[in-house]
């Protein structure tokens, strides 16, 4: 087995086993996986050359759906929460998507931001329904009807999330290699030709957009359940910015990078927040600039370069294409 494949499997094993050695890491990793799913949604859109500054909207839609379900049924059921949260985020994705896929680049990014700001202010203003700025508690749900203790639930949530992430990552990877996934990518390079193949660029982008909203929704439900509380902050623009940041950090366009980025980001945030709380966004901002200007393929790009050096060979044209960053300059 080549090193290039062995290392990711090893990393996955370390993530799976880490909580056994260091119990504190379990919650952090669960949160990181939840964010990683949402980041995957951003990564997907980057393949079409689009950046959304408002995807926290779908994260929050799903999280609040789970919270409402829990409130309505005194605790609720995890599977139902996931189904409802996913359904709600897909529905919102379709509604918002029908509008925003008419636009590209600046308008696309900013209209997404506008929609998320609208939702944020609704969450804050209609406090009699949403609990306002204090948000809503999410009680620990049952899992397929079984009530669980806290420790057992957290362990289950972590391993459940891990399996879900691996499965979803595989699906997205296959989607991106499929005919429709490749058409989705051509929105970045040549929409005119796509239309002249008889394919609607808007509908193609809409498919990807709805999927990306669903990914954010899955992440939102997991986050809500893991944290036990949802607040309007879930929909805030800083959350959206964070998702975009992690996508770029991991390696824009890389499915694995979404999760690697999320785990590293979350680990650093948890440990650095204590002494950098006031300047956290500033740190992120400088990092983002540094990555864009000096390492535009992110962590995954650095990994590939390291592997190339270890295997002592130059990338062929096909490989550079596989590792190509949607964000990279032409």
């Amino acid at each position: 087995m080549s090193l290039r494949i062995a290392v990711p499997i090893l990393l996955l094993a370390i993530v799976a086993l880490l909580p056994l050695v260091a119990p504190w890491s379990q919650v952090v990793l669960t949160l990181a996986l939840a964010k990683g799913l949402a980041v995957l949604g951003i990564v997907l859109l980057l393949h079409a050359g689009q950046v959304s500054f408002g995807h926290a909207l779908f994260f929050a839609v799903a999280a609040y759906s789970a919270a409402f379900l829990g409130e309505a049924f005194a605790g609720g059921e995890l599977v139902m929460m996931i189904v409802l949260g996913l359904g709600a985020s897909l529905f919102f994705g379709l509604m918002v998507g029908l509008f925003v896929v008419r636009y590209r680049h600046i308008f696309f990014g900013m209209l997404n931001l506008a929609f998320s700001m609208i939702f944020y202010s609704i969450l804050e203003k209609f406090y009699h329904v949403t609990g306002g700025a204090d948000g809503m508690q999410v009680a620990r749900p049952t899992v397929v009807g079984i009530e669980m203790e806290r420790a057992g639930f957290e362990t289950l949530l972590f391993y459940g999330s891990l399996v879900l992430c691996v499965a979803v990552a595989w699906c997205i990877h296959r989607f991106l290699s499929s005919p429709i996934g490749n058409m989705f990518k051509t929105i970045k390079t040549n929409e005119t030709r796509l239309e002249y193949l008889g394919i609607s660029a808007r509908q193609t982008l809409l498919v990807g957009y709805v999927v990306s909203a669903g990914l954010c929704g899955l992440g939102g439900v997991l986050m809500a359940v893991a944290q036990g509380i949802v607040t309007p902050e879930y929909a805030w623009w800083i959350r959206s910015g964070e998702l975009v940041f992690i996508a770029i950090l991991g390696g824009a366009g890389s499915v694995a990078g979404a999760f690697v980025g999320a785990i590293i980001y979350e680990a650093v945030r948890v440990n650095a927040a204590a002494f950098a709380a006031d300047v956290w966004q500033m740190v992120l901002g400088f990092f983002l600039l540094a990555i864009i200007l000096f390492a535009s393929r992110g962590l995954v790009g650095l990994y590939e370069r390291l592997m190339d050096r270890l295997e002592n060979k130059k990338p062929t044209s096909k490989e550079t294409q596989d590792g190509r960053v949607p964000g990279a300059a032409e």
């Binding site: 989607f175 290699s177 499929s178 005919p179 990518k185 390079t189 005119t192 239309e195 008889g198 294409q321």
Partner: protein
Amino acid sequence: MTPDVLLETKGLEINFGGVIAADNVSVEIHAGKNLAIIGPNGAGKTTFLNICTGYTKPNKGSVYFCGREVTQKSPRQITRMGVARAFQIPQLFSEHTALENLLIAAAAREQRWAPFMKLGHIPERDEMMHLLELVNCAHVSDRLVNELPEGQRKLIDIAVALALRPKLLLLDEPTSGVASSEKFGVMDILTRALAEAKVTSVFVEHDMGIVEKYADEVAVWAAGAVQLRGTPQEVLEHPDVIRDVIGEEL
């Protein structure tokens, strides 16, 4: 309307900020007869192709394809009906390989939406490889198209259009950007491919040698209107054409 009329325009008119790009253009394109469009720059040749494919909507007039009006339809809808187009500046997917460009076109033609099928595994793969061979680009099938020279990009652009199995192919200056020594080679490849696929073509061309050799009919464009139409011999020997069009080329 005779049954062999593939595309017909009636009284097309359009102007861009006062510049007339189409002035009462009525043209019939017959199945099986390759039509060359010649004329000076700015005569409205590309605009004509744009109107025929729905990219530009005329101020007046209408376009019919196989007897159905398509004037207000989008490029997407007209493409679906069987009109494909190759461009003056090749319109390719720059981050895909040459073969992938064709495979995407084939997947679009066959409506392959299965989300877990790999693009490289669709049943049309062999057909697309054959098409690449036909345009002499099989050896660069796994190269990114933006790494290829302009001449090959033009051929791949044409192959992408052919991959759609159109009834009618509109080619905008297929040999521009191709070295003059290679122009005839490109056209030989192209006519062979067109004949094999039984596609009728309309091509905008500046090189009269090419027009003479490959066109069945020639239409002369000037100031947004068709000035003259006939066989290559009739047209190229016409004194006006020698003065206005060929003269400019020299």
